[in-house]
């Protein structure tokens, strides 16, 4: 299964080599953490994960077909 990986702003600043057209091929079942590793993204750098728009943990197991995973990077401020 081919999944699109979207990187939010601060992650684009960290992984400058990863474009908006980042795709990975995965076999289910698989955890988000492993998908990140396959995409070359250190799971620790990711602050939040959206799987097809739904907030999930990095240990969430993907068991059905999905289209995209959005990775929200760390933020600062307030």
């Amino acid at each position: 299964m081919r999944v699109k990986i979207n990187l939010s702003g601060s992650l684009q600043g960290i992984y400058t080599d990863k474009t908006s057209d980042l795709f990975v091929d995965i076999n289910i079942p698989v955890t988000v953490r492993h998908v990140l590793a396959a995409a070359g993204v250190n799971p620790l750098v990711v602050a939040a994960v959206l799987v097809d728009g739904e907030m999930k943990s990095k240990d969430f197991t993907i068991e059905e077909k999905i289209n995209e995973i959005t990775l929200v990077g760390p933020i600062a401020g307030g």
């Binding site: 960290i14 760390p74 307030g78």
Partner: protein, 642 residues
């Protein structure tokens, strides 16, 4: 007419009751663009050298940028600057809300306030009409209370910036409040306003700002709003706002806990973004034109008191929460409210109080000296200390000086755990395993503030090159222990961040849509051109940012004896005490590593080994007029390590 700008500067001399307007200089616009640039240039040129922060000759400068107040996301950021009572050097602070937009609509891009009013006063500004009015009925009142009173008296359409009792009493980390929860929190700008007997500034602006191409501005504006809502992180970031980072900061061992004794707070799930939504939040609250409202307005109910409050945001969660060991979000939110009403910065207050609690634990402060016991994790202790600080009562008078001065006066080893740089208390990111972030903090012009540089994510990403990635990914037995982050080669990313983050304070716009969501720079460039009629190349903006960075370094060299390398070190706790627990257990950055960080950084910036810009660098940046002053300080030993 200069497109994009209101076109005028308002000058208020409180000592002589004089109010003047002058045309905005095209040269100032060309060289410094706006906001932070205007503040830096004005302070360097107009502040008499060696003016003390509370001397009536000190200036308060308030400035907006070319993108402020226009039809694009979050264009309502206001920049305040002064000679800081926290650091004795360049001080500034950036505030969201609607205040500066009203100032611009009233006709002013910048306001310069000097002198001292004879009695408590406030500035009344209604379009071009300006008065210095008596403020006796508001003096002594809380900042939030004063804002409500002024709105009742003047009308809801006035935008109000106020100080609380802390500002009146010159607490060195007093903050300016606005919009019932937005603050210019850092570097003590409100204490300077208080020293001038100014309680508030009330502005109503109904004018407009000339733009180059109105139709293009509307078209581009709609595009930007639409683009922001489609950004990948929009749904992931907006609901919790900055509080959403609490979990992550603990996961990577960067959450200041019990006066930075450690970097992991065991109760973080009780004070994180989800806790804010569940126990405090009533509604989202955003600044002018914001499509990503990160403010969470709510109600905090505790045994010590209850109140409506905006927040807490991450910094407040970290410094009043984990760093003071408060383990309930309602209690953090209530402490946030008390700070807001008294008019003190939640960040600095959190550091100062946690330092006092550690002093009490170590027997340096007694119950008799304090007037009661104070303990980590106890809301009553925090509320008690805040009241004492804001009114400078008892030991509160010492704590009101900030943690640097308080520790110097207290001695007994307390300097080692006074967590600040240059006198400004450290914000919410523990750095003993984050060399880039550490370097960003220790070299910032204003002291330890994340608004100048934030590369913690890069530090964490960099650490994978050194440690066991397999464990991190698999969640294996070492998954909660981070490898040591790399120290060498971090300067380029730090310098890039130091130029990029403050660049938004020049434009007068919020950086979050770019930094957190990844809004491309082309949107800002296109909007800038539509508004001003001039091209904006992003790299040129970063050059202005670099110029300001160096100008502020020169300001500090001029104003502070011996300023330079010796000013650029973290507190000893960070290079002497390994982190005792959490994911970064055992890590620290030793002094030799800090020296190598500084050597690499100075070299990359074109500064000498004492951290003083070289003549070549100053000429390259168009700062030749600072050379004589800088050289006179250089020859007298500026920056040498003592």
């Amino acid at each position: 007419m200069i497109y994009g700008y209101a076109g005028k500067i308002l000058r208020v001399d409180l000592s002589h009751g004089q109010i003047k307007e002058e045309e905005l200089s095209p040269t100032l616009v060309e060289e410094y663009m706006g906001g932070r640039g205007f503040v830096a240039k004005t302070l360097y040129d107009e502040l008499p050298p060696d003016t003390a922060p509370f001397d009536e000759d000190n200036l308060i400068v308030i400035a907006m940028g070319p993108l402020s107040g226009h039809f694009l996301p979050a264009s309502g950021k206001t920049h305040f600057g002064t000679k800081s009572p926290a650091t004795d050097g360049f001080g500034d602070s950036n505030m969201g809300g609607h205040f500066g937009v009203a100032m611009k609509y009233a006709g002013y891009d910048m306001m310069v306030i000097k002198g001292k009013a004879q009695k408590p006063s406030y500035l009344y500004i209604e379009d071009g009409h300006v008065e210095i009015r008596p403020a006796d009925k508001y003096w002594g009142k809380g900042a939030l209370t004063t804002e409500k009173m002024l709105k009742d008296d003047l009308g809801e359409e006035f935008q109000i910036a106020t100080i609380g009792p802390a500002g009146e009493n010159r607490v060195r980390y007093a903050c300016i409040s606005h919009d019932f929860g937005r603050q210019a929190g850092r570097t003590g700008v409100a204490a300077v306003l208080g020293s001038k007997n100014i309680k508030a500034i009330a502005i109503k602006g109904t004018g407009s700002i000339p733009v180059h191409d109105t139709e293009e501005v509307l078209t581009r504006g709609k595009e930007v709003f639409s683009a922001v809502r489609k950004m990948p992180g929009f749904k992931g970031w907006t609901p919790q706002g900055t509080a959403g980072i609490t979990d992550w900061c603990n996961e990577v061992g960067a959450c200041p806990t019990r006066n930075f004794q450690t970097s992991y707070f065991e109760h973080y799930k009780q004070i994180n973004g989800e806790a804010v939504l569940e126990h405090v939040k009533i509604t989202d609250k955003g600044c002018f034109g914001c499509p990503t409202p990160c403010g969470k307005y709510g109600y905090a109910k505790t045994a010590s008191g209850s109140a409506f409050v905006e927040g807490p945001e991450y910094e407040t969660i970290a410094l009043l929460g984990s760093n003071c060991s408060l383990a309930k979000i309602e209690e953090v939110a209530y402490a946030n409210y008390v700070c807001d009403e008294l008019g003190v910065d939640t960040i600095s207050a959190g550091v100062v109080m946690s330092w006092a609690m550690e002093c009490y634990e170590k027997g340096i402060f007694s119950k008799e000296l304090l007037g009661r016991e104070i303990h980590f994790g106890e809301l009553d202790s925090i509320v008690y200390l805040l009241e004492k600080i804001a009114h400078r009562e008892g030991l509160g008078n010492l704590l009101a000086e900030g943690v640097k001065i308080a520790a110097e006066k207290t001695g007994q080893g307390s300097e080692k755990f006074a967590i600040h740089v240059k006198g400004l208390e450290w914000t919410g990111y523990e750095c003993r395993n984050a060399p880039g972030m550490m370097l960003g903090y220790i070299t910032a012009d204003v002291g330890a503030h994340h608004s100048r540089c934030w590369v913690l994510g890069n530090d964490v990403a960099g650490s994978e090159n050194v440690g066991s990635v397999h464990d991190l990914i698999s969640g294996g037995k070492n998954s909660n222990t981070l490898p040591k982050a790399k120290v060498k080669g971090v300067s380029p990313m730090v310098i890039n961040s130091q130029h990029t983050r403050p660049a938004f304070d020049i434009l007068g716009i919020c950086r979050l849509q770019y930094m957190e969501l990844g809004l491309e720079t082309k949107y800002y460039e296109e909007m800038y051109e539509a508004i001003t009629g001039k091209k904006l190349v992003w790299s040129e903006l970063l050059k202005i940012s670099e110029k300001i960075w160096n100008l502020n370094r020169c300001f500090n060299i001029r104003e502070i004896d011996g300023y330079g390398r010796s000013s650029d070190y973290p507190p000893p706790r960070f290079y002497e005490e390994p982190i005792p627990s959490g994911p970064n257990k055992g890590h620290l950055i030793v002094l030799d590593e800090i020296d190598s960080l500084l050597d690499e950084f100075y070299d990359a910036r074109g500064w000498d080994s004492n951290g003083v810009p070289t003549e070549t660098t100053l000429r390259r940046l168009g700062l030749a007029d600072t050379i004589d002053t800088v050289n006179s300080k250089r020859s007298s030993g500026a920056g040498s390590v003592k």
